[in-house]
């Protein structure tokens, strides 16, 4: 896909942060129609659709866990490749994979991320995130002692513990109580306003209406790109 010759006019255009062009995703065979969307800095793009419509498959392809069936997929003008250190430094991903080191505490999991990403003031960053995600009292707990929702909060906190250009989240509202959903929504808004970028699959109309700048609606027949209100209405009416 990357070998395809680009038109000369593209030279003058700024390269999108994430380029998804006619992308077909699936396991050998496509599971949804081709997706085309440019994800620009300072935006929150929500992907919505019914169960099994291909939202998670799309995200897994974007982060390099699945090869594209067809189409073009680039991060800052380069093909997706998780072996690249730059790619890993740019992308913060949370796909709900519930796996933890059994002998590291909640705080140590966040410190590991800070350490691995070269975050200077890891102690302060970690403490602030523990506070924001309601985990301060559980900071010295081992993962086995956490509830399902607390584990999800830890995974989400990990996304914000490190430098990033693009955040990718798969249904981040799952397993969170309504208060934490609201907090997360506000955090996504702050991320957007600070110039950060988010691509997320979600079923939460409030999160879409408040945080998203555009919405990709995946159905069996087509893929539409709507504004935030239009996307939220689709969730409420059709899904």
């Amino acid at each position: 896909m990357s070998k395809k010759r680009r038109p000369a006019v593209e030279k003058d255009r700024p390269i999108p942060l994430l380029l998804i062009d006619g992308l077909q995703v699936g396991y050998g065979l496509p599971v949804c129609p081709p997706v085309t969307v440019n994800v620009e800095p300072g935006t929150v793009v929500a992907v919505v659709g019914a169960n099994g419509s291909g939202k998670s498959t799309l995200l897994r392809t974007v982060v390099g866990l699945l090869p594209p069936v067809k189409g073009r997929l680039e991060l800052l003008g380069k093909p997706i490749d998780d072996r690249s250190r730059v790619f890993r430094a740019d992308l913060a991903v949370e796909l709900g994979d519930d796996a933890f080191f059994p002998t590291l505490t909640v705080r140590e999991h966040l410190m590991l991320i800070c350490y691995g990403h070269g975050v200077a003031d890891s102690g302060a960053v970690t403490s602030a995130l523990l506070e924001d995600f309601g985990l301060t009292e559980r900071s010295e707990a081992l993962p086995a002692a956490l509830s399902s929702g607390q584990r999800r909060r830890l995974l989400l906190a990990g996304v914000f513990a490190r430098p990033r250009r693009l955040i990718i989240l798969d249904e981040p509202e799952q397993r969170l109580d309504s208060s934490m959903r609201d907090d997360l929504t506000e955090r996504l808004v702050e991320e957007r306003e600070a110039g950060g970028t988010v691509l997320m699959a979600t079923h939460d109309p409030q999160m879409v209406r408040r945080a998203a700048t555009s919405v990709v609606v995946i159905s069996d027949h087509d893929v539409r790109v709507l504004d935030a209100d239009g996307g939220a209405d689709v969730i409420l009416r059709e899904l």
Binding site: G28, L65, R83, V86, L112, G116
Partner: protein, 522 residues
């Protein structure tokens, strides 16, 4: 936002950081580590001494007939060390290609792989686990071959080094192919094929009457050459560690995690699933209409559906078909030796029958984990158990008829042996079904401490559930092999034991239901 590369820790430092922090919370201390090392060395020493003593008994003795001088079909005993060593190598490579060699656990994948640290030093300790296993497997196998062929100590050492180095080379090749999924899959298939070919080669050698070539001084040079190849390959592999995509590290790690959990849970069914799941296709070109079910009387369709599901599962899992065929080759290998050893023949026959029977009971094994089909059909649990016996019994009947006909080839009386085979087949099927429905050990109960570590109570009873019926059901066959003939009392005893085996396999423990209900079959 951007962090300089020099400010990032190396993969080794990330590993150390994690290990250092983990140590504070790990329950096991240095004594547990020493205990694990002691156990590992003890296990290796016991395995090695068993293999070597067995191999020594195969070595040609003074006054024994010269190799190749035996008339008719005759497998030289030396091959009985070479063939298992080759099978062990193929099995190792197949295992490595399924579980790695490079793999990260779920936690390591989730927390280490997204870090922008360099991956070579992160992955290096993982990379050298399997070559370590390869050294042991190849070394012990090579040593066994050397002893079985009656070589002098220096040559035995050379064969051991050659075996170890060859196995390491194959593991490293598996590592090099991990970045190329097609090649990696081909290597796995090649290893499986190699494992499958070993008994066939044994039969060809037996009927060809070929003796193993004598070990020569060339082995010293050969060992050195293979060591050089290993060093070169290892250097190349080490340089390419960082090129393995995260998705491969995750998927291989998931399989390794699943296999490890199955082993630690003493659950061979889970181990089989862990090693097989990724080899099965996720879809078929088309679904069968199953028109034959419409021809069955309506009252019998649930039973027919259950048997059909077992049949289709077997036919659509080629490794089970291969398992049945290859298990059939094992007794033939012993029968093809000039003077079949009765003990070896009996052990091989019963083990092969059980291995073949296990391949026929995949439906029951899956039903034990997820009884969706059983629950969907209007059959009570007793009926489900009984009808789960049908397909394994039919297939084992065919298997046993072929195998006992081969016994008749060496012992005469084809009618008697085949009749015994017909009678024993349902007992073997019953053993496989009983094994499929065995419960998991209760790890929540107080552990029983043994020199090999803590074990859940009742584990021996659970682990032997299945093999016990196979063994008891095979007693008349073993007696017949010892006597060298099939007598009427043996046949009568077989009828009784087969009936008992089938009854045991279809027996269900009654569990009390909730208050106010009748007791339900469990």
């Amino acid at each position: 936002m951007t962090v300089l590369e020099e400010d990032l820790p190396t993969g080794r430092q990330v590993r150390r950081w994690t290990r250092h922090r983990s140590r504070h919370h790990a329950e096991a201390g240095i004594s547990a580590l020493l205990g694990d090392i002691y156990t590992a060395f003890l296990s290796i020493a016991i395995t090695a001494s068993m293999v070597l003593s067995l191999a020594s008994t195969l070595a040609p003795k003074d006054g024994s007939p010269a190799r190749g001088a035996i008339e008719g079909p005759g497998l030289d005993p030396g091959w009985l060390a070479v063939l298992p060593a080759l099978a062990a190598t193929a099995a190792l490579v197949g295992l490595v290609a399924r579980l790695g060699p490079l793999a990260l656990s779920a936690a390591e994948s989730a927390w280490w792989l997204p870090l922008p640290t360099e991956r070579r030093t992160l992955l290096r300790p993982t990379a050298y686990r399997w070559p370590g296993v390869a050294v042991l497997v190849g070394g012990i196998g090579g040593c066994g071959v050397g002893l079985a062929l009656g070589a002098r100590p220096a040559l035995v050492a050379a064969v051991a080094v050659l075996g170890a180095a060859t196995n390491v080379a194959l593991v490293v090749v598996a590592g090099l192919t991990q970045t190329r999924p097609r090649l990696h899959r081909s290597l796995r298939l090649g290893a499986d094929l190699g494992l499958a070919v070993v008994p066939v080669v044994g039969l060809l050698l037996a009927f060809g009457g070929w003796a193993p070539p004598p070990l020569s001084e060339l082995l010293f040079g050969g060992s050195g050459l293979v060591i050089i190849v290993v060093i070169v390959l290892t250097v190349i592999w080490d340089g390419r560690l960082a090129k393995v995509p995260g998705v491969s590290l995750r998927s291989q790690g998931a399989a390794a995690d699943e296999a490890l959990v199955a082993v630690l849970s003493l659950d061979p069914r889970g181990l089989g699933r862990a090693l097989a799941a990724r080899a099965e296709p996720s879809r078929r070109k088309r679904s069968l209409t199953m028109f034959w079910l419409a021809r069955v009387p309506p009252g019998r369709r649930p039973e027919a559906a259950l048997i059909t599901s077992d049949l289709l599962l077997f036919l659509r899992t080629p490794r089970h078909v291969v398992q049945v065929v290859l298990a059939g080759c094992l007794p033939v290998l012993v029968l093809a030796t000039p003077k079949p050893n009765v003990a070896a023949l009996a052990i091989t026959f019963v083990a092969a029958a059980y291995i073949a029977a296990l391949a026929t009971a995949e439906g029951a094994r899956r039903a034990q984990v997820n009884p969706a089909l059983d629950a969907a059909l209007p059959l009570d649990q007793h009926e489900v158990r009984r009808f789960r016996l049908v397909f394994p019994s039919v297939l084992m009947l065919l298997w046993a008829m072929v195998e006992t006909a081969l016994l008749a080839w060496r012992y005469g009386d084809p009618g008697g042996w085949v009749l015994l085979g017909v009678l024993v087949a349902p007992a073997w099927a019953a053993a496989a079904v009983r094994a499929a429905y065995r419960p998991l050990p209760d790890f929540s109960a107080p552990q029983i401490y043994t020199p090999m570590g803590g074990l859940p109570p009742g584990v021996s009873g659970i682990v032997t559930q299945g093999p016990d019926v196979a063994l008891i059901g095979s007693v008349p066959l073993i007696v017949a092999l010892i006597l060298g003939k099939v007598s009427t009392p043996v046949l009568l005893l077989q009828v009784v034991l087969t009936f008992l085996a089938v009854t045991l396999a279809s027996w269900l423990r009654q569990r009390p239901g909730p208050p106010g209900t009748t007791s339900a079959p469990g």
